[in-house]
Amino acid sequence: MRFGVVVFPGSNCDHDAWYAVTANLGHQADFLWHGDRNLKGADCVILPGGFSYGDYLRCGAIAKFSPVMESVKRHAAEGGLVLGICNGFQVLTECGLLPGSLVRNRNLKFICKPVDLIPATRNSPFTHAIPAGATLTIPIAHGEGCYTATPETLDLLEAEDRVAFRYADNPNGSLRDIAGILSDNRNVLGLMPHPERATDPLMGSVDGRLIFESLIANLTPAK
């Protein structure tokens, strides 16, 4: 499987994502420069964590105007996979690929710690390989990870089974404990926690592998 990791100015988890899918999971990955439109044949585009464009104005607000995002939007519209992690999730909400927005944590502080995630649906390319009933331990590292949306949007997300993950113990005030959501055609996932940081036993948890393994199994035709 081929991944593409977007590099915005200010991305700082780009290398971590690249390392996770290549060294830890054994697949191919290319970096995709924000000023280019070429996705280099990626099956799945990862929008990594960090502070794209310094998070000036609002998190992810400037990234949506970058040339690469035009290609990412087209890729998503054609059914291609897109995984936005942390700042990548913020970019996805800013550019309209996902509803709602991410605002400052309830305690107004940056929070970095492992949290427990409850998979809310297994009906997606990102979650289908997660064993039923499993809880995933995956780190968060964000200052603006509080998910907000209108009650109607939240109801719709739930009605359409598009909440992908919930926090077991809500760290940031996200409405309805939401940690990650899917697009309406289920090929775009935005996730505040960092699955790429939980793909190596030396880092304390390998639960993030389940998300990447779901993607990989999804792309590999059954024989």
Partner: protein, 746 residues
């Protein structure tokens, strides 16, 4: 304005003698711009004029040292990767004390920014940051509210800068003492990694090579920051807020990526960041190191504000700027990289052979100074030193505990020993996915993906010990820092120091500095940890009250990459050993301990006694235990003594110990003395542990067995302490947040 009067000279913190020297160097009277340039280069902060004479006593060499003091950071060789490439680490610690008092958030943030630039200007990618923080007590009757605000601002500033830049903040220490009420300390350590063939130096070599300015535009911020950091605080200092620079970590991240990419083109001859004293320092130091001159025109310097004078441009400390020298004819390769990253990059001048720093403004010469006397021949003072200032009695007061378990709870709730999670959870300690051991352990460990080795690092300082005896106190600090590394299996290989002291013009303060440096020299030589660089911060006094002498040491060690044991007891039924034995103490040597500070609210006597040879023996044994895998947990005994060390072993997993001791020391001393050379180890293989310790000639005292949720210590059958772990842990883990969050609701 441009007339140089005695008042103007004094306002630049230059003495009449220093001014005469400037006139002699120039052979004429300086103009105001030149006076400003001399004043920042000859400030204490930049020139080390009070400390240089004594810093020469420090050991700086070993087979691993590639670069010692004098460059932007020290460099150590850490060995080869599988392909035979040599790899190095660059590291240094630096203070941003004065700015952090005036404006805590920006002061701390730009402290992080400054040290990161020191690392990547040498070609290394920063992979870890740690910080040593000192504040006044949060519950201080008159300064508590301000201290809480300073802590909150400093922590937010460090988090803001480090998290956005994308470097993990992996550890550090936070200590509270009234002597820091009006003078907090913010010391930031950074470490980077690179191949040996990727090292760059701050040298302006090659006649005619273009000099290029890159990064943020120059503004009026931070003018005279270096000289501010070299003066005592007065009430007027609060008016100096414009002297504190503003940090932009996004700009710094771009600068990092662009610099490393530009270096890879092979078109760069030398590079240096603009830190303290900005454009002045980078131009004259780069020229001085290479024995060359630099001629440039201020008209080409990107400026944020209109109408800046040459004086202001030369002295600005605007952040996120670098100066580099490219090879003539290849400058476009460099400029293209910066253009790609959207950064300003202008050719401002060229390297000359005359050794002169020649500054023009639209073609007109506004300053002309020989580089070498400016950069390297700053005044050197052998300041008088007498007996170190001593503000505590030698003899101990009478003391006896009414309830030792209650005393342990007092320690748990104290600012120095309580859980610092409230602080370090604001730091992204995992970004770059290399953090094998983050905050909360004895030492942080960061793996190096390319080599299969890991780097361990620890910061240590103990102002109480160094106040009671600067020389012995510093030796204890070096020993403890090395012990922290040994507990995670790392071999200490090099050190960086941050010497935070009061006014060196007072002989009793100068004596503290001299004794501390000499103690550090002896201990660093003994433990084979050469000092490869660092920082001296003097004049840490407010309204005449000096801080405790507060040297901080950062030591790095090497170990094979693997899963560390950690400090916490893991399961019930493991044997708990005290390596190094119970140690010795008397009432006098209890005066610097956390027990004296938190329980007795007092300070007296002498620091604990250290036997460096025995310490080394214990550390050698501990390193082997850590690497052998026979330990379930390893944690050294330091602040708070044995009882506190066992409590810390119990917190991570709620597994405590029932320990039976056999000692003639009275309980207060037995439980809480801070004698060095001791390490708590739990193991499922007692025979192997005992055999290993015996082979090293190190006593391994069996204390008892681990149990769930209980911490119990008895001596000769009499129970001294008995408590559930969860109750103690609750007190420990909520103490800091409850003190700080009281403020948020005001």
């Amino acid at each position: 304005m441009s007339e140089i009067t005695p008042e103007v000279i004094a306002a630049h913190q230059l003495t009449p003698d220093e001014y005469d020297r400037i006139v002699a160097i120039l052979g004429r009277t300086p103009n105001l711009t030149e006076l400003g340039i001399f004043s920042v280069m000859w400030s204490e902060h930049c020139s080390y004029k009070s400390s240089r004479l004594h810093l020469k006593k420090l050991p700086t060499r070993s087979p691993r040292v590639v670069q010692g003091p004098g460059e932007n950071a020290g460099i150590l060789d850490i060995g080869q990767d599988a392909e035979g490439n040599d790899w190095c680490i660059a590291f240094k610690i630096e203070s941003h004390n004065h700015p952090s008092f005036i404006e805590p958030f920006q002061g701390a943030a730009t402290g992080v920014g400054g040290i990161l630039r020191d690392i990547f200007t040498m070609g290394a990618r920063p992979i870890a940051v740690m910080d040593a923080l000192r504040f006044g007590p949060l519950d201080h009757p008159t300064s508590g509210a301000r201290n809480r605000r300073i802590l909150d601002g400093v922590v937010s500033g460090i988090a803001h800068y480090g998290n956005c830049f994308g470097v993990p903040t992996v550890g550090g220490e936070t200590v509270f003492e009234p002597s820091y009420n009006g003078n907090p300390l913010v010391n930031v350590f950074a470490l980077g990694v690179f191949r040996k063939d990727q090292i760059f130096y701050g040298k302006a070599s090659g006649e005619g090579n273009p000099v290029i300015y890159v990064g943020a535009k120059t503004g009026r911020d931070g003018i005279h920051g270096a000289s501010m950091a070299s003066a005592e605080f007065t009430e007027e200092s609060k008016q100096k807020r414009p002297n504190v620079q503003m940090g932009d970590p996004f700009m710094e991240k771009l600068l990092l990526e662009a610099c490393l990419e530009a270096m890879a083109t092979g078109a760069i001859a030398g590079i240096q960041d603009m830190g303290a004293a900005g454009l002045t320092c980078s131009t004259c130091e780069m020229g001085s190191r290479a024995g060359t001159g630099i001629e440039f025109d201020l008209a080409h310097v990107p400026q944020r504000e209109k109408g800046m004078t040459p004086y202001e441009i030369m002295l600005s400390e605007s952040q996120e700027r670098m100066l580099l020298v490219a090879f003539k004819g290849r400058e476009n390769e460099v400029l293209d990289v910066f253009k790609k990253w959207g950064l300003d990059a202008n050719i401002i001048g060229q390297v000359t052979t005359d050794g002169i720093l020649r500054v023009k403004n639209h073609g007109e010469v506004v300053a002309e100074i020989p580089n070498r006397p400016l950069a390297d021949e700053a005044p050197l003072y052998d300041r008088p030193h007498t007996q170190p200032l001593r503000i505590a009695p030698l003899e101990a007061p009478a003391f006896a505990s009414a309830d030792l378990t209650a005393d342990l709870f007092t320690l748990a709730a104290s600012g120095d020993l309580c859980d610092k999670r409230w602080i370090w959870e604001q730091y992204d300690y995992m970004v770059r996915t290399n953090t094998l051991a983050g905050p909360g352990g004895d030492a942080a460990i960061v793996r190096i993906k390319e080599t299969g080795t890991s780097v361990a690092m620890a910061l240590d300082g103990n102002g109480r010990y160094t106040l009671l005896d600067p020389r012995e106190g510093v030796k204890l600090m070096v020993a403890e820092c090395c012990r922290n590394l040994s507990c995670v299996g790392a071999e200490p290989v090099g050190a960086t120091n941050n010497l935070n002291f009061g006014n060196p013009e007072r002989p009793e303060i100068m004596a503290q500095l001299v004794e501390a440096i000499e103690g550090m020299a002896e201990a660093c030589a003994f433990f084979e940890t050469p000092i490869t660089g660092g920082n001296v911060s003097l004049y840490n006094e407010t309204l005449g009250d000096p801080i405790f002498p507060s040297p901080v040491l950062g030591i790095v060690g090497l170990l094979p990459t693997g899963e560390p044991a950690g400090i916490g007891f893991r399961e019930e039924g493991h044997a708990v050993y005290l390596l190094g034995g119970l140690g010795d103490a008397d009432d006098r040597r209890m005066g610097g301990t956390q027990y004296a500070k938190q329980v007795l609210k007092d300070l007296w006597g002498l620091p604990p006694r250290l036997d460096m040879a025995f310490e080394k023996q214990v550390q050698t044994a501990v390193r082997e235990i850590a690497r052998s895998g026979i330990a379930q947990s390893i944690h050294d005994v330091s602040d708070g003594g044995l009882a506190w060390a066992l409590a810390e072993c119990a917190f991570p997993n709620g597994i405590g110990v029932v320990a039976e001791l056999d000692s003639d020391l009275r309980p207060e001393l037995l439980l809480f003395h801070e004698g060095p050379s001791r390490v708590v180890v739990s193991t499922a293989d007692p025979a192997a542990l005992e055999a290993l310790a015996a082979r090293h000639g190190v006593p391994a005292l069996r204390l008892g067995l681990t149990v769930a949720n209980r911490l119990s210590l008895a001596n000769h059958g009499a129970t001294l302490i008995d408590t559930p772990v969860d109750a103690l842990k609750e007190r420990w883990s909520t103490a800091l947040a409850s003190q700080l969050e009281a403020e948020l609701h005001v």
